[in-house]
């Protein structure tokens, strides 16, 4: 028979150990400093679960340590322990109590989940376009940017699409995370609670440039945000020129094309894998694009055609020392004809100066 006194003793020891462990645990910054209302709530659930889990682990560890301490025998001891086969009350207790605890965690989680999905009445709608290996954001009025700028204390509702494979959007300090899936639109709500600079990272393995697929994030006061948005809108942000390329018509000058080529280079994520001096990138995953002209000569093809082919159908000619099947083959679909031409011009060095 397992004595009631022993059970009470172990529970008390575990409670003391759990209290000490909790006091130590709260000193460690497990989670990043919260920067959103959603993360505040996630942090609450985290500590709610942590206290329960520390309690359970302390009980298990205390029993193991005490059992080894008190009941260990020498190897040559060939006696047996008491033939205790079970105890119905105890078995019911350790079925019911954990069930209650996990249901409590479940209820708290469900409440927090529904609050975290609530965008309120006036969310700022931001569209997110993900592709290997770059992020693009579109604000109301077709303002496109590569930096995510959010207003303080206003819910931002992201509507997200992917053009190639699955990506996932996460800003660690803001907690919320959502996969971006080709073929469907997914959404997520974030309400920033402090200004500052953060980093948005892709958390779903999306190919060789996955670890470079990041975007800068800035949270501004509401007024500063409105100023920024108005300025972007008036300037016709570089990205907007690309998206509205058809509407802008043939009015683009050569200078505008060069600018477009450079922004396309950045927004398509070319710099994640390729070094190219005019764009100031030095990545080593793919071939060095400063040598493009020489590569075209080696392949015996006209420069522009070679460059265009290398973007749209990258496996047609593969520079020696590199492998085929690595570069995304979707740029022919994801770039507009204007962007593609501008990018070719930018890479060939004709219009970059």
């Amino acid at each position: 028979m397992i004595h009631r006194g022993a059970i009470i003793k172990m529970v008390v020891i575990a409670a003391v150990a759990a209290t000490i462990a909790t006091l130590v645990a709260v000193l460690i910054p497990w989670l990043p400093e919260s920067a959103s209302e959603q993360m505040d709530r996630i942090t609450f659930v985290f500590w709610f679960a942590t206290i329960i889990c520390i309690g359970i682990f302390s009980l298990v560890a205390a029993v193991i340590v005490e059992a080894v301490w008190a009941f260990r025998v020498q190897p040559d001891d060939d006696t047996d322990g008491p033939p205790i086969h079970g105890n119905t009350k105890l078995e019911i207790a350790w079925t019911v109590v954990p069930a209650i605890l996990v249901i409590a965690i479940g209820v708290v989680s469900a409440v927090v989940l529904s609050k975290n999905a609530d965008a309120g009445n006036h969310p700022l709608q931001v569209k997110v376009f993900a592709q290997q290996f770059a992020w693009k954001f579109e604000y109301p009025g077709h303002v496109q940017t590569e930096e995510l700028v959010m207003p303080l204390h206003r819910a931002v509702k992201f509507e997200m699409q992917s053009v190639d494979v699955i990506h996932s959007l996460w800003i660690p300090q803001m907690g919320q995370k959502q996969d971006v899936v080709p073929g469907i639109t997914t959404s997520i709500v974030i309400t920033p609670t402090r200004t500052g600079r953060f980093t948005l990272i892709c958390t779903e393995l999306c190919g060789l440039g996955h670890s470079t697929m990041r975007a800068p994030v800035r949270v501004l006061e509401e007024a500063a945000f409105e100023d920024w948005l108005a300025k972007e809108h008036a300037a016709g942000s570089p990205g907007a020129a690309g998206a509205a390329g058809g509407a802008a018509g043939g009015g683009q000058s050569g200078g505008a094309e060069a600018a477009l080529g450079k922004t396309t280079f950045a927004s398509a994520g070319c710099g994640g894998c390729h070094a190219f001096t005019p764009a100031g990138t030095d990545a080593q995953i793919g071939p060095d694009l400063d040598g493009l002209v020489a590569d075209a000569k080696k392949a015996g093809e006209p420069e522009d055609a070679y460059i265009k082919q290398s973007i749209v159908d990258p496996n047609a000619v593969v520079v020696s020392g590199f492998q085929s099947g690595v570069m995304p083959t979707t740029f022919g679909k994801t770039l507009s004809p204007e962007e593609l031409d501008a990018l070719v011009a930018f890479l060939s060095g004709k219009e970059a100066k």
């Binding site: 022993a6 460690i28 497990w30 989670l31 990043p32 996630i42 659930v45 679960a49 889990c53 359970i56 298990v60 193991i64 059992a67 080894v68 009941f71 025998v73 190897p75 047996d80 322990g81 008491p82 033939p83 205790i84 086969h85 105890n87 078995e91 350790w94 079925t95 954990p98 069930a99 996990v102 965690i105 479940g106 989680s109 469900a110 989940l113 190639d164 494979v165 699955i166 996932s168 660690p172 300090q173 907690g175 995370k177 959502q178 080709p182 073929g183 997914t186 990272i201 958390t203 393995l205 190919g207 060789l208 440039g209 670890s211 470079t212 995953i285 492998q323 085929s324 099947g325 690595v326």
Partner: protein
């Protein structure tokens, strides 16, 4: 079975010696040496023939040739050459088969372990040795990418190679180490525990084993493919997986071979456990290891076809240009994840329930007490089995599936903590007031209970949707899965090997080295994986070759500890190999255990029992005066053929 009776067995069993064949025609490596390339050529010219007839260019398309010739027909040729199919082919072609020819049964010398063998004990050892080879290979890959991750920035590998190392590490560990290592331990122990002379289908058992090296070799060979090894993680999500270099196909096909092996073994266990229990062995008298493998086999049989399907479909998207999981032409991108996790979540239980069984055996025997709440222990296994099929989408809380689905999946996932908790508390109650023998198997068992509880509790965090949304796809997941699969499964595999080592080999391992192995593993394991909880919650995603500089210090600690963890395996291997060769003779029952495998000699006789045992009581009646689990007449303690 076929005609290659060379050792004493044929005279012993009185068979007429059949016609002898040349060394290149007898089953074995020499025959495999020419049949394998022959079958490769057959596969190759099926592809080339079709392409030539259809007029497709190029006629020699090496991707398709390697896929059909290298991954389908050549492995079949290898199995044929080794002699796995001989009996069935004789039977199919109407030639005489020797029904009770045991020529390929039992090991009489060490080379017998390298042949096709139908003895469950030999197959069990074959499984364990093979899986440990892949364990070491997988661990080596882990140390390569831990070297890369020791510092931020890129040092040793390019990112595609890094992704390949990560993917191959997980794949080797899951598909050709943990799952089949349990199959190996169970292969050895379950028929003995049931009082059965062998598994129900010994030839199928041999086939199951020999498919395993095919899978492992395919996974490793992917590093030779142009573009490198498969690099989409062991989860291999569509549509990325259908756009990757050719190495991806090695994963798709390797999983088929490993899966077929698993399914065949599971069917074998089910039939064996249901039909071959000794007289008196009711379900409520079965040792918990048998219960655990019964539930595991049910999981395997029901769930594994799903991963086979998912891998075929995602491969077809690539090689046949279908659209199962691509958004164009109406494919269903999230469908891949649903099908994949419908297998791969139950797979987590496939990788832990046999371990639960091993721990139950060890905790009861080494505490000299009956298992506390035996029936509830068995029922909780069934509870996990049923609940295990209703939780798969907790891997998809951020995947973009229907929002409402997250709540029921969260509740069912949280409820799995209840039967799991029952097991943990029952082990603790079994320890209480026992006579605890703190030897190596028991150390690993106690290490397992404490580490698995941490893994289970971090699982509660991940079941709670809001926390999971933050922690998903971060190093917190990596920490969780390693507490479950290393602190959980691998600790139980070590415990099981130490526990049954004297029964398998007849010799005792070195206790001091065993304890040294435990403590280095236990400490290095915690230093490797505990900090990952923190870096993950703080913002470091998983599967990245490069990361923010703030995580540099902890990653350095993790990398150094992981090298120590790798080195600790050397202690284990040294202990096992030297003890196997010249350890002290162990005797038939060094642990004074009650289950049937300990009532026969070590190693057991080739056919286990001269006379089938009579089971007369429960398996853990320690401390009950005069209690016995089974009564053996002949065969008990009889010396084996060694």
């Amino acid at each position: 079975m076929t005609s290659t009776v060379e050792h004493g067995a044929e005279t012993q069993h009185g068979h007429p010696a059949p016609r002898r064949r040349g060394i290149f025609m007898r089953p074995g490596y020499l025959r495999a040496l020419w049949v394998t390339p022959l079958f490769f050529l057959i596969g190759m010219y099926i592809v080339v023939g079709i392409r030539a007839l259809a007029g497709w260019d190029p006629t020699y398309d090496w991707e398709y040739i390697v896929l059909i010739g290298g991954m389908v027909t050549a492995p079949l040729g290898f199995l044929l050459g080794m002699g796995v199919f001989d009996y069935w082919l004789y039977w199919l072609s109407g030639r005489p088969t020797l029904v009770d020819d045991h020529a390929n049964h039992g090991a009489y010398r060490w080379t017998d372990y390298f042949k096709v063998n139908t003895d469950h004990k030999v197959i069990g050892v074959q499984y364990l040795v093979t899986t440990f080879f892949f364990f070491i290979a997988g661990g080596f890959l882990a140390m390569l990418f831990r070297a890369e991750l020791a510092q931020p920035g890129m040092q040793f590998f390019d990112t595609q190679t890094f992704n390949g190392l990560v993917s191959a590490h997980a794949t080797l560990m899951i598909f050709v180490f943990i799952i089949p290592a349990f199959a190996g331990l169970a292969n050895f122990a379950v028929p003995l525990m049931l009082g059965a002379p062998d598994m129900a289908f010994p030839r199928l058992n041999a086939l199951s084993f020999w498919m395993l090296p095919v899978a492992g070799v395919l996974f490793l060979a992917s590093f030779l493919a142009p573009g490198g090894a498969f690099a989409t993680g062991w989860t291999s999500y569509a549509p990325l997986a259908s756009e990757q270099p050719f190495g991806q196909v090695f994963f798709n096909m390797g999983v088929q071979w490993a899966g077929a092996s698993s399914i065949a073994t599971a069917l074998n266990f089910l039939v064996t456990i249901i039909t071959m229990r000794a007289p008196g062995m009711t379900f409520w008298r079965m040792p918990l290891l048998v219960w655990a493998n019964f539930t595991t086999s049910l999981l395997v049989v029901i769930a594994t076809p799903f991963i086979a399907g998912s891998q075929f479909f995602v491969m077809f998207d690539r090689v046949l240009h279908t659209s199962f999981f691509t958004p164009d032409n109406g494919g269903y991108v999230l469908g891949y994840q649903h099908i994949f996790w419908f297998y791969s979540h139950p797979a987590v239980y496939i990788m832990i329930l046999p371990g639960f069984g091993i721990i139950s055996e060890i905790v009861s025997t080494m505490s000299r007490k009956p298992i506390f709440g035996y029936r509830l222990m068995a029922i909780s296994l069934l509870g996990i089995l049923v609940l295990g099929f209703s939780v798969w989408a907790h891997h998809m809380f951020v995947a973009g599936m229907a929002d409402w689905l997250r709540i029921p999946m969260m509740i069912s996932t949280l409820l799995i903590a209840v039967p799991t908790g029952v097991k943990v508390f029952s082990w603790l109650a079994t320890l209480w007031e026992g006579k605890i023998h703190l030897n190596t198997p028991m150390l690993f068992a106690l290490g397992f209970i404490s580490m698995f509880v941490i893994g289970g509790l971090s699982g509660i965090y991940l079941a709670a949707v809001p926390i999971d949304i933050h922690a998903s796809d971060t190093y917190f997941i990596v920490a969780h899965i390693h507490y479950v699969l290393f602190g959980g499964s691998v600790f139980t595999i070590f415990a099981g090997i130490y526990y049954w080592f004297p029964k398998m080999t007849g010799r005792m391992y070195d206790e001091r080295l065993g304890k040294l192995h435990f403590w280095t593993t236990f400490i290095a394991f915690n230093l490797t994986f505990f900090p990952m909880h923190w870096v993950g919650l703080d913002g470091m995603p998983r599967r990245v070759a490069d990361y923010a500089g703030t995580y540099g210090a902890l990653n350095m600690v993790v990398s150094i500890a992981s090298f120590v963890l790798g080195a600790s395996v050397i202690i284990f291997l040294y202990n096992i190999i030297t003890s196997w060769a010249r350890g002290p003779i162990a005797g038939s029952n060094p642990w004074r255990a009650m289950t049937i495998e300990w009532q026969v000699s070590s190693p057991p006789p080739v056919f286990n029992f001269d006379e089938i045992p009579q089971v007369v009581g429960g398996p853990y009646e320690y401390g009950v005066p005069g209690a016995r689990h089974a009564v053996l007449k002949g065969g008990a303690l009889q010396e084996s053929h060694v």
